[in-house]
Each structure stands twice: as C-alpha cells, then as structure tokens.
C-alpha cells in the first residue's frame, strides 16, 4: 500500500511538471504534429483490421445467440452498433493502443533516460517531462476520438459484410437495426471515454519510462509494467465511467 501511494504521488508530481508552462511553444507545436502522426496515423492500419473483424464477429455471435423466433433479426444490426459504439470501439481499441503505443512510449522515454538524453535536456534548462510527455498525451487525447470514430464505422461495416456475404441477416434488416433508436449521447459518451483512456495509455507508460533506470533490460520491464498497468487502469476507469454516465 505504501509503495502504491509512493508511485501515485510520484505520478501526480510528474503530471504536474508535465502540464507546467512550456519554454517555447514553437518546439511543442512541431513535436505535437510529429506525435499525432506517429501515434495516430501509424495506428490506423491495426485499428481498421481489428475493427472489421470485431464487427464481423459481434454480428455472427449475436446471430448465433438469438434462438427465439420472436426476436427480430434486425436486433443483430442494433446489437452490433450498440456494442461497437458503447464498448468495443472505445475500450478494446484503448487496450490495443495501450499495447502498441504504451510500450512504444515507455521504451522510447526509458531509453532516453538510460542513455542520458533526458539529463541532456535538463542541463539545457528544458523541462524534460513537459517536452517529452506533454506532446504525446495531447496528441493521443486529440487523435484517439478520431481513431474510435473510424473504428466504429469499420466495425459496423464488418457486420455489414457478414450480412452481405451470409444469410444470417438480410442487408435491409441489418441496416434497419443499425439505425434503430440511435442516440447521439452514446457517441459523445464513447468519444469522451476514449479521450480519458488515451490520457491513461500515454501517461502511465510515460511515467514508467521516465523513471526507468539501469540497463536495456530495465527499460523492457518498465515497458511491460506500463502496458499492464495502463490496461488495468483503463478497465477499472471504464467501469466507473459506465456506472456514472450510463446508469
């Protein structure tokens, strides 16, 4: 418990330093765009591949679990949309990105720590945490909702493909189900959630990397810790957000 509180305190101190006033905005602007490309656009491929199969599987699973003849088949489209928007796109994508981006952030910053690059920044009078971590957090928080929107469309498109390629549901029924009782609030809720998750899967691995010490082996361990911790925190926070905003 003492260790947990110690790390929690250290994490908040790091975040405080990270969000302090930058030395030169122009430097941060360039880094922000670089990070948006590296964290966002480079993740587009994996997001699309996972989303299309995710949507396809939700559609098949829903169809396979509807036994009653009294449940209309358009429910498949409705369930695919709801599952995708409320949970799969924001949460599963956050977990995927925690693995991909989180490990990348922890190892990049950790390597900079053990090769004294962070010390070099500090000696030049640069707030190293703000310079290294802030653009990553801001880029991920800004770009993540867009990735989730893309994931939603592609996932629902994956379900559409199943409707088109199989006879478990007609395209018309699937489309009807997808449009049925649509609530914009759910999309807003989902995108807000994705921004919170983005903050978690960038800041937690950044913390682990920033305080890495010793050898490349330690950097690897820090990277693993960053991914595991951010994944767990995402799931816990997801529970609370759902409880607060949907019930």
């Amino acid at each position: 418990m003492q260790a947990f509180l110690f790390h929690l305190g250290k994490y908040f101190i790091l975040m405080w330093r990270t969000f302090s006033r930058p030395e030169k905005w122009s430097m941060y602007r360039k880094r922000l765009f670089d990070e948006m490309v590296s964290l966002g656009l480079d993740s587009l491929g994996i997001i699309m591949v996972i989303s299309v199969f995710m949507g396809a599987v939700i559609t098949i699973q829903t169809a396979a679990n509807i036994d009653s003849a009294f449940i209309p088949t358009y429910t498949i489209g409705f369930t695919t949309r709801q599952s995708t928007i409320l949970e799969f796109s924001p949460t599963i994508m956050a977990l995927i990105l925690a693995g991909k981006i989180g490990s990348n952030i922890a190892s990049e910053i950790g390597l900079m720590r053990v090769t004294e690059q962070i010390d070099a920044l500090e000696i030049m009078g640069v707030n190293s945490s703000a310079y290294l971590i802030l653009p990553k957090i801001v880029a991920a928080v800004l770009i993540s909702p867009f990735l989730v929107i893309i994931s939603m469309f592609v996932s629902i498109g994956g379900g559409y493909l199943i409707a088109a390629l199989t006879d478990i549901v007609t395209i018309a029924n699937y489309e009807y189900g997808v449009q049925l009782d649509f609530r914009m609030y759910h999309v807003v809720y989902s995108l807000s959630k994705s921004a919170v998750f983005a903050f978690i899967f960038t800041s937690v691995p950044a913390y682990q990397g920033y305080y890495a010490s010793g050898s490349a082996l330690e950097v690897g361990k820090a990277s693993t810790r960053g991914v595991v911790q951010s994944s767990i925190i995402i799931l816990v926070v997801n529970y609370f957000i759902t409880q607060i905003f949907l019930i």
């Binding site: 900079m112 090769t115 004294e116 009078g125």
Partner: protein
C-alpha cells in the same frame, strides 16, 4: 570560474562527497580524476544541478548555483555545455537538428543565424558533411565530436565533459582531447573533464583534482602529478599502466 565550497553529498548511509573545496579557472582544462566509484561523476552532477548536494555551495563566477531559484538556475544553465559519456545525442534528430537544438531552446537567433552557427561548429569539430545523418549512423568518435559541437553551439561559458574518451581508440581519444583543449583556450571557457584516462591527464591536464573515496585528495598540474609521492595517486597512475619516474 567555478568555485566549490564545502560540498557534501550522501546517498542513504553512504558519504559520496565529503567537504569538497576546489576552484576551476577559465581558459584551462580542469580535470577531475579518480577511480570508478570515487565520486567524480556525482561531483559533476552536483555542479550542474542534476543531483542536489546536502551541504556547500557552487559558485559560477560568484553566483551560488545551489541556493538559486529555478528561474535563476535556468539562466546559468544557458551558459553550460555538457558532453556526456555516451554523447546522449537525441536519436530521433539528425546531427544538424541535434546541434541546433540548444540554439532553438536557449537563443533567439534567426533561422539563418542558427544555420550558420551549426555549420560553424560542425566545421570546428571537423564534421562538415554529416548534417543529415542520424546518430545511429555515426561511429563512437563521430558521436563524441557531434556531442562537442552540440555542447559548444550556444557559446557556453562552462563546458563539462564526462569521460570524453570512454569507448574510443587511443588515436581518436587524442583528437577529442586536443579538440577540448583548443576550444577551451579559443573561447576562454571554464572546462571540466571527468576522466580516469591517464593519457588525457598527460595531454590536457592543466589543472587536476584527484578525488579519492569522496574526498579531494590532491590538486595540481600534470607535471606536479608525476612528481608527487602521494601513495593513492601513485596507485592510481600505476593501475592505469603508467610508470612514473618515482616508481622506476
């Protein structure tokens, strides 16, 4: 000039630096030497503020760096250049971007002026054609030269070099040592070199401070060092493979 008064540092129970008093003059290469674990790197880190000492003061031309506020420290840090043991070049930047980085951070020069300065310092370290290369494409010696170029690009008043010859062949070490000495004299800067390389001591040791188990054990020039009968220094020199006149 850098003056260190009564500097002490402990890590837990361990006394790493014990009441260090020393003065490093400008225009000469000042060497801090000692065995591994003697506290020389910690001393350097205390001097630049990467480690906070428990006691004592570090005066940069009379300005007490230890007891300054952060804002004032930043102003002094702008006058420092640091060459790290592993060069610490930023992996994601080209050589040119690495050298320009301190200029972007610390100066308000125009783009053209920055480019001129980058070209000038890369020329100075005899690396005129590597602007677009990344650190991973450079050899150890080349990285050190670029590290020096980055350290001197904002015209520092104080230059710190941590083990500048570690991992380099003897020939390249001589070149790097020569470069550090020339730059020190040309610009009249206060240079501190942390090393345990006896060749560097002989080549560029204008002023040497020998640190032993966290204490300042001895100070003098390289010539005086060869004359001394201090047992710890003789052991250090002997371990470095040097046969001094006294030992013979």
């Amino acid at each position: 000039m850098i003056e260190v008064n009564h500097l002490s540092k402990t890590f837990g129970e361990k006394h790493v630096l014990k009441d260090i008093n020393v003065r490093f003059e400008a225009g000469v290469t000042n060497l801090i030497i000692g065995a591994s674990g003697s506290g020389k790197s910690t001393l350097a880190r205390c001097l630049v503020g990467l480690v906070e000492p428990e006691k004592g003061e570090v005066l940069y031309d009379g300005r007490d760096f230890v007891h300054m506020k952060n804002k004032e420290r930043k102003a002094v840090r702008k006058e420092m250049g640091f060459l790290f043991q592993g060069s610490a070049l930023f992996d994601y930047m080209t050589v040119e971007e690495n050298v320009r980085f301190p200029l972007d951070i610390l100066t308000s020069l125009s783009s053209k002026e920055k480019q001129m300065r980058v070209d000038q310092v890369l020329e100075r370290v005899e690396m005129p054609d590597v602007h677009k290369l990344y650190p991973s494409e450079l050899s150890g010696g080349m990285k050190k030269r670029v590290g020096i170029a980055r350290a001197i690009s904002p015209n520092p008043k104080y230059l710190f070099c941590d083990e500048p010859n570690s991992g380099l062949d003897p020939q390249t070490s001589i070149v790097i040592d020569g470069l550090i000495r020339e730059i020190t004299r040309e610009n009249n800067i206060t240079t501190l070199v942390i090393t345990h390389d006896m060749n560097s001591v002989m080549e560029i040791g204008d002023f040497i401070m020998f640190i032993y188990k966290g204490e300042k054990w001895w100070e003098g020039t390289n010539k005086e060092m060869m004359e001394t009968d201090n047992q710890e220094i003789l052991e250090f020199v002997n371990a470095a493979g040097m046969m001094t006149r006294k030992q013979q």
